[in-house]
Each structure stands twice: as structure tokens, then as C-alpha cells.
Symmetry: C2
Subunit: 202 residues, 2 copies
Amino acid sequence: MADIKRSGGVVEDIEKILGFIVEIEKLKDVYRKTKPVGLDRFENSAEHSWHVCLTALMLKDFANEKIDINRVIKMLLIHDLGEIDAGDTIIYANETSENKAKEAAGIGRLLNILPAEMADEFLALWHEFEAGETADSSFAKAIDRVPPLLHNIHGGGHSWKAHGITKEKVFSVNQRIEAGSKELWSVMHNKLEDAVHAGILK
Amino acid sequence: MADIKRSGGVVEDIEKILGFIVEIEKLKDVYRKTKPVGLDRFENSAEHSWHVCLTALMLKDFANEKIDINRVIKMLLIHDLGEIDAGDTIIYANETSENKAKEAAGIGRLLNILPAEMADEFLALWHEFEAGETADSSFAKAIDRVPPLLHNIHGGGHSWKAHGITKEKVFSVNQRIEAGSKELWSVMHNKLEDAVHAGILK
């Protein structure tokens, strides 16, 4: 067994972090509005978070601006934690300020389980993601929209149908991808046009 | 819609990456041997991958050696992809060379969906993780063991009981955590001793 020479602060900090690690397990029980390709169940926000991190990592070279992929991945690892208290909201819904406030309070509650400096650092990163105004956050937000589109494209448009989302809405809302990557939006735009021609997006 | 000025290579590369992104959805259907704290279902390897990335990020300051947390996170994002073809193996099982070969073949198949240079880069990273000999991979491997212990500690030792894992085996197998972080192992060791005293680890 390790013999810790440092003061009690180390153990206290590790205990706080492990408390956080246990608390965020709850994201595995927040369900989204689309089903992963090939699976007959809805996706949870924890597995979605993993998926968007790898999507960002693999597509990093197609960002419009110079980005720091490591910051992008950190943002995407924490971007949905606010949903533990607020729940998931479909991207096509008009987000209310009430829901936004609930998510902000939720991420604050969770991060405050961590040692103080860490909480401050990640809260700032979360707010940067939410605002979506920097190169890193703009790319992260673009990437966040890609897997749900793939779920619909490869899954008969199940979520578009279930929620009555029109093609006009799908094109206009997801054009936001272009702000992060023009090249990625071009490819996704073509895939959405194919979905219209196939009759799964109306 | 974006107007792509570059050659067709860009679109081809994006298409390959999106193919990979869809293929790795299958990790969301690989089930592990423990249940997330508070949930009455087994954990899948995709949500586990997200969880260990955040565990590593938050505990990075407690690594024994100087590590590059960004490389550690990349390793952990891909570390279980081989399970899509090989399935999950409990850490207490003696890993057979047959299963190892299956995982190596599986990760090779998946990464080869990507553009060639990317496949090479991530295959090297996966092999580094598997070998566990560098500072980064040693820490990543230590972190990988923490959440399943927390699942058992906070979940009545459900997986230890179901698989007949003794306390001797739990202590000896997880002592590997010490090679990545002596401080973390010290804290986890105490928690395991508490689990013995509480009668959930025998």
C-alpha cells in the first residue's frame, strides 16, 4: 500500500473527485431523442458524450479555424453534465431561458463537488461551450449535431418523424455546423438531401 | 451550403471518418460486468469510456510520473474499441492470448475504416495502452480500474459476488493502480478495506 507523505489535502481532494465521479454516473440515465445506429433503444447522454469526443478527434482537421482539439474534447466530455439536473432537450425545441438556467445551476452543483480551482476551470469551459463564440466551442457545437443526424439518416428518420420535424427545420437548425466546419456541413448537407430523396425527411 | 474548393480527397476522408463514427456505435451494445451506481442495468463500454476519460482528467495531478493527459484521454477514448469484435472480458479472468489476438484484430479492422495515416496513429496508441509500459499508458490503465471498483463498493459488491471474486483477488489484481498513482491506490485500498469490514467483499 502506498505511503502518502503529503498532507491530508491530497486524500481530501481525491475523495472529492471520486465523489464527483460517482455523482456523474447519473448521466448514464439521461435519455436522448435518437437511437444509436442498429440499436432499438434510445441513446443516453454519457455514451453520446464519448461518441462526440471521438467524432471531434477524427474530424479535427476539417475545422474552419485553428482549434485546440484537447480543449474541444474537454468541453465535449462535460458539455451535457447539466442535463443530470435539467434533463435532455431536443435540439429542435426552442430552448427556454428557464431550461438554460436549470442546466447552468446543474453544472454548478456538480462541479462544486470537485476541489475549488478545478470547479472554476471546468465551469468556465462549460460556459465557453454554451456561448459557442470561440473557435473551439464553435467546432465542438458543430460536432455535437453530427451523430444525431447520422442516427436519423441510418435509422429511417425515426426521431424526425416522432417529433414532426420538417426538412426546412432540419436544414436550418443544422446549418450551424457550417460555422464550425464548412467541409463537414457540405458532406452532411448532401446526406440530408439524399434523405429527402429517400423520403425519410419531409 | 459550403463551397468546397479542395480536391475530392477531403470529401472522401470525411466520408471514411463518418463511416467509422457509425461503425463504432456498436460499442454502445457491448455490456460489461458491473452496474453504474444507482442503476439496475449493466454498463456498456461506450459510456464506460466516457466515464474513465473524465476520471483520468480529474485525477491527472495524482499520477506518479509526468503524464500528457491529452494522450491519456485519447487512449481511453479508443481503449475498448477492440471489444466490438471480441466482447468484454472481466478484469479478474486470465486473459487468453486468443482473446488478445481477437481484440487486436478488431481494433485493426475498425481503425482501417479511417484514412490511412489516422489508422496508423491510433493503432500505435492502442498498442501503447495495451502494453501499459509508458507513463501515460500506466496511468490510463490505473484509471480504467477505478470505476468498476466504485460500482462494487457502492453497489453491494454485486459483480464480485456474481463472479465469485475473493478479496485476495480484488486486492492483488487492483494493486496495479499503484503503478499509475500511489496516492489513488492508497485511497482505493482504504475503500476496499472498508468494503471487507462491511461484509460486501469476502
